[in-house]
Amino acid sequence: MPYSTEFLLSAYRTMKTIREFEERCVKEFEGGNIPGFTHVSNGQEAIAVAACIDLSHKDIIGSTHRGHGHCIAKGCDVGGMMKEIMGRATGLCKGKGGSMHIADIDKGMLGANAIVGGGPPLVNGAALAAKTLGTKNVALSFNGDGSANQGTVFEAMNMAVVLKLPHIFVYENNGYAEGTAANYGVGSSSLTERNAGFGMPAECIDGLDFFATYEALKIATERARNGGGPTAIEAMCVRFDGHFIGDPQLYRGKDEIKNARKNQDCLKIFRERVISEGWLKAAAMNAIDKEVMVEIETAVVDALAAPHPDPATDLMSDVYCSY
Amino acid sequence: MTNEIKPINMPKWGMEMSEGDINAWYFAIGDQVNAGDDLVDIETSKIVNTVTASDDGVLRAIIGATGETHRVGALLGVIASAETSDADIQAFIDSNTSAAAEPEAVAEVAAPAAAAIETAPAPVAIPQTANGLSKLAEGEDDSLVAASPVARRLAAEYGVNLNNITGTGRHDRVSKWDLEAAVLAAGGRLIGNSINKSNGAVPFGDDSNVKATPVARRIATQLGINLLECRVSGDRGRVCKADVEALAALKNKMPAQTDGSATVSSNTVESQPISGMRKTIAARLQASKQTAPHFRVHIDAEIDALLEVRKQINNSNSDAKVSVNDFIVKACASALMKVPAINVQFDGEQLSYFSNADISVAVAIDDGLITPIVANANHKGLVEISNTTRDLATRAKLGRLKPEEFQGGSFCISNLGMYGIKQFDAIINPPQGAILAVGAGEQRPVVKDGQLAVATVMSLTLSSDHRIIDGAVAAQFMSVLKAYLEQPATMLG
């Protein structure tokens, strides 16, 4: 068996946690418990987990506005995340950041970024620090097919090649940049070919297949860690929900989402694979399902009961270290 | 050189006062005081009042500190010129606080020349004088003490060593204001401008600078009320107790107290907001009464002849229902043509004389009155006036008048005769110049050719705006009007 049971169970658990967390966010948002904008990544779990499962807390990731999954995959506390998304004082960012700025520096999560393309230049910086300090840590940025077209991303890619930075560029191509098709927004016929043009190894893989994604990322991470510079991995996937919660998604085809949930579910695909290969039993995964539901339910109950920030003390705090 | 040193003593307000609490000083040591300025608020068991300065000078010492209680006549402070030496001031203080005296021998309120002075019972905090300042000058080299450039420069001018000042400025440096506070505390005087209000340290919403009576401030603190939110109706532009209590009542913190004990009454009150129309009437009539100097001219008219003519008209014409008021309208219209000076509007700037008589007739409606206009009444016959008036009144009561039917008019008639009112005075409807108040026609004793007789008499009173109508003109109008009413046939001419 090429993967340990522990590894497989851990992968499944994390993917399932992301799935249920995101589905619950939709419910809570529609119930009025989440202020502001929220963007969920249900459907894209395999990529997040495949990319982060082997990273340590000292390896850094940067994320997009659709960052809950990346956060969970990187090991951020689910309870703290839910509190943050609900704007509570005991959230990961004391309620000051919210869904779009969710971060945990201690876990190597440099933050979800509400600016499309805002992440890669920062992740370059993390990579530069690792290289300068000789730590052998790597840095990984999650990008969308939309942000792939942002100038800051081009600059970051070129800079990463020029300075040979340990930066893995992961593109989650879910086919839509907000309400515009990826094919429309990316001028070249293939995003991967364009990535290669920057001078780094570039690959396109099936992001619904946890194992294919994991293998590709493993090679890229090793390359980075050993001083081989950046890699670009384009992972094809699907998002089950809209750009934001509440998006009527008029730009998607009829029955497209229903079909995706039925036939393009990376968790289903994972289950089928591990069972058919004889790597895991269904019962073990069912047990995980139950535990995850309890964990999510607890997170929500705790978050709803968590204290709200106090303007008298929390508004003006943490602008500077000292002023 | 002797400069007069003036004491500030605890006054005696009323026979029963024996002592007072010091609530607040309006000046600090070193400030220039002018005669008549409020100096210090004193509170007794009966009142709160303020001692005012009777002289110009500089407040050189404060002996009675805020919060302390002193007997009547006690020395509270000292005013002198800026040049008077600290030693002289101290000597004056010393000589005036050692002698004990009977309360009854105390001088009158705020008398400048102090006679026997009461002993201050408690030890008083006499501020440091020359001793204090010289202490501030001592110390090691202070060139490395953190201080703002202005503070450092001024410290040199004061001769103060920065080691002796606690810094509360940015990065704990000694600020100008730290320096000044220290100088004042040591009994020194400030050089030049020192307006401490401008240090920007007053937080938003801080009401400590709002002028308020001490009692008001105390109650506000107890109730957690910010003085910035209170209306200001106390004397000398201060928030007073009633202002604080009114706001508190509004916030339901406590019921507003009126003077005297709470009354127990079985009277119920139904409150209603004022209607738009009532508001308008209120505003216009108030303005009219306040702006136009009203004077009244009263005449009685015998209307027996008029009543006879009315009967004739109504009997001969089955459609006609001419009222006495219609005759009055006609008579006024005719009189206005004869005395056009009454037929006028005045807006405060311009006089507008009208060629025709547009007569406003006051009509009572629900919760108010309205004055529809009989236009060109001088050209209308009695029946036409009657029909017009009736139509206008009906529609007025239904609220169906067009604006031009009640806005305007050059003269107004108000008739309360149907209520049995003998005589009354009306208020002019601006911008008209005059209004006629008509009472009931009633049987009254009259004197004809020296003999007592009975006639139907009606009292009419013209209120005129004396800015534009003079007595003689008003009198002339009434005389003409009376003639028309008593000899209606002359209106036909």
Partner: protein, 363 residues
Amino acid sequence: MSTAHTKGTEMTNHSNNPTVGGKTSMKTIREAINDALREEMRRDPTVIILGEEVSGGAGCDGQDDAYGGVFGVTKGLMPEFGRERVIDTPISEAAIIGAAAGAANNGLRPVAELMFFDFIGVSFDQIFNQAAKFRYMFGGKSKTPMVIRGTVGGGWRAGAQHSSMLHSIVTHVAGLKVVMPANAYDAKGLMVQAIRDDDPVIFLEHKVMYDIACEVPDEQYCIPFGEASFPRQGSDVTIVAISNMVTHALTVADILAKEGISCDVIDPRTVSPLDHEAILESVEVTGRLVIIDEGNPRCGLASDIAGIVAEHGFYSLKAPIRTVTAPHTPVPFAPELEDAYLPNAEKLMVAVREVLAAGPSGA
């Protein structure tokens, strides 16, 4: 300039003092900043420099360290510290600033350069949405100890896109600190402070001032942020000036001194945090205030200071506040136009005399 400082590795925590310590030598602003950078890089291996041509010659056949910065400020640093710590970058301002911000959150203390501060346009997101906001958005968990050096100012006919004064824009952003030294002594002490500060600092160097020299201590020292210096002191009028405008303020003050009029000339040195207390103290004494700033007038530093004094020092004023700024235009190219655009000593003198003549005279 004679102000004291603290030496060694400690951050300074005290105000202006009139004594100078240690051995000094005449240094230009350029040399003073170079000093500061070199000594800090020697002391702390996490300090790196990155930007375009900060060394120059990368990948070329000619000289290495061909530039040392286009104004020569970072000359000699790459030869000492290597291209690992003095990094020439491609022309990618967003990537440069972003890398600095990301690296600052991960153990380095980068000093990034924007060759001309006008280039914040193409990198503004990384400054204003990312670096400035991290600490606040992430609930106090992150710190971004980075410095962005940029050149500002007109006078060299460099045209509209190479002559801006943009300190007001970055002052407006909460989370950034903004520093603008006007002499070599301040430049060195403030640069050391900036590198040791844990917040993002925008360090603005006026391009025409690099050759101005004064006595600068050889040792490393810090000047704390938020403390203004008073190169002239007096009690008749307060003149606040920053960066290249300080020269004009001194010219005016010295002329007036001969007429028996004494001026408080205040150089805030740091725009954010601003030493508004020192300004208010001075206005309490003088009652008259003129502010000269090379920036444009709308929402600028001059209006900001005027507003602070009007709100908190109103009762001290004997005359209306006057501001002397550039007009509401981009910087023109033709020499006579640029000269008309820039504030100078003549325009300042007119304003100061107006303010002296207005209102009640005497104390």
